[in-house]
Each structure stands twice: as structure tokens, then as C-alpha cells.
């Protein structure tokens, strides 16, 4: 696996740890490093070499119950404020899937 698809880097590990602590009711967590798809594109040259710029997260947790979608994403963004700042971590894009356990079950039925 190319280094920029790895989810064992320091940034990936930090993100994973934060999610596990912050969403104790989480029933599913998946993480994908999509940095390889974006290597060398505009604006990330300076952090490109880390190979940890673009991540995709799937979080299923009842902490999202009754929370509108933008607010769910803000919850995650807030936790990763440092990682997502240009100075701090240089995570450039974070694709999020945020579902409650019920929403996930409904999806699996379809």
C-alpha cells in the first residue's frame, strides 16, 4: 500500500483516537486515506509529503440522534480543529458519513 493510502500514520491514528474517545456510543467506525487521489493538487504542496491530507470517515453513533446534518459535521470538525488547521496538521479535506444506529439499520435493509 502506498504510504499516502495508509491509515497508520500519526495523523490517522490521532483522528481515530479522538473519535473513539468522543463518541463512546459509536457502533461503527471506518477510516479511509484518500490522500493519494489528491497528491500534488492545488494548495497542498507544502503538506503533500505527509500523505495525510485527505481522509474519509464513517461514524455510526447515537450521539448524532436528533442532531441536524450540518451540526453533526461541525461536531467532528470541532474535535479535529487542530488537525484541520493549516498550521497544526494540514488535513485538507474530511469527507464524513455520520449516521445514528437507527439510520444505519434502515440503510442496510434497503
Amino acid at each position: 500500500m502506498a504510504s499516502n493510502r495508509s491509515i497508520d500514520g500519526p495523523m490517522a491514528k490521532a483522528i481515530k483516537a479522538k473519535m473513539q474517545i468522543s463518541f463512546p456510543r459509536m457502533t461503527h467506525f471506518a477510516m479511509f486515506n484518500d490522500s493519494y487521489k489528491h497528491a500534488g493538487h492545488h494548495g497542498i504542496a507544502e503538506v503533500d509529503k505527509t500523505g495525510e491530507t485527505h481522509f474519509r470517515l464513517e461514524i455510526v453513533s447515537d450521539e448524532f440522534s436528533g442532531v441536524p446534518l450540518p451540526q453533526r459535521h461541525r461536531m467532528v470538525y470541532q474535535l479535529l480543529q487542530e488537525e484541520m488547521s493549516a498550521a497544526g496538521g494540514g488535513v485538507h479535506a474530511l469527507q464524513l458519513t455520520t449516521r445514528t444506529v437507527g439510520e444505519q439499520k434502515k440503510r442496510e435493509k434497503n
Binding site: H42, L69, P70, R74, Q81, M84, A93
Partner: protein, 147 residues
């Protein structure tokens, strides 16, 4: 203050440049945006019923997520006359300011009738569920259907 691009979605996404005067202050890091920037962003958000902050222009998006968002809005049938796009790559103040303003760390960002809707993931999810269509319909920003 910020360059505004009002595209026609079909055919060929030709952008119309409504030449608003633009002030570019090249400051790379700024913790809190100036009141001028905040006012300019507020004005930009109110400049059309549908406003997208993106990387690149509707004709030449410079990021996959911005590109996906543009085509999504096109598919939904957003009326080009009710749409404006702002290229954050043209203005570092806008690029940082809009993140702070929306409390949203990534670009693109969509506003409909001055309300923040979300970024690419949210729009994709909303398009799949039909929520985006409902929202745009209620906001009265779709191309009128011809009888």
C-alpha cells in the same frame, strides 16, 4: 469586495463576470477576520439566492469537491440567474474568512437564502434523500418548468 461568478449551468457553464470591485489584502494568517471582511462576506452571501464558495470557477473548478457540487446544483436545476459563485483561491481573506464565518473548515460551502446548507458531503446526502430538491424548491431557486 469579492469577485462574483454567476454561471449559466447549461450548456457549457459559461460564467458571467459581474465585476464587483475586489480588495485583496495578502495576509496569510489571521486569527480573527476584520469587520470589513465579515461585512464583505455577509454581502456576498446575500448577493444571490444561491451562493457557493468554491475553489476555482464554475467553468474551471480547481478541486474535485467543488466540481462535484457544481454539477450537483446543475443536475438539480438551480436557476443560473439566482446563483453566484465565489472563488476562494482568488482571495486569501475570503478563503480564511468564510471558514470562520460559517464555522466550517472546508470549501465548498453552499448558502441558500443566506442560510448555510453545507459542504459537498451534505449536499450529496441531501440530493440522494430528496431533501436538497425540496429545499431548493421551497427556496424558489429552480429553473421554472415550461408548460
Amino acid at each position: 469586495m469579492f469577485a462574483r461568478f454567476a454561471p449559466r449551468f447549461a450548456p457549457g457553464f459559461a460564467p458571467r463576470f459581474a465585476g464587483l470591485p475586489r480588495v485583496s489584502l495578502l495576509r496569510q494568517t489571521q486569527l480573527f477576520m476584520s469587520t470589513e471582511t465579515r461585512a464583505a462576506i455577509k454581502e456576498a452571501i446575500g448577493s444571490a439566492p444561491v451562493v457557493l464558495f468554491m475553489k476555482g470557477t464554475p467553468e474551471f473548478p480547481q478541486c474535485g469537491f467543488s466540481k462535484a457540487t457544481i454539477s450537483l446544483l446543475g443536475q438539480q436545476g438551480v436557476d443560473p440567474m439566482k446563483f453566484a459563485a465565489y472563488n476562494v483561491l482568488e482571495d486569501p481573506e475570503l478563503r480564511e474568512g468564510i471558514k470562520e464565518y460559517s464555522e466550517w473548515p472546508t470549501i465548498p460551502q453552499l448558502y441558500v437564502n443566506k442560510e448555510f446548507v453545507g459542504g459537498c458531503d451534505i449536499l450529496t446526502t441531501m440530493a440522494q434523500s430528496g431533501d436538497l430538491c425540496n429545499l431548493l424548491e421551497q427556496a424558489n431557486v429552480l429553473v421554472p418548468e415550461e408548460d
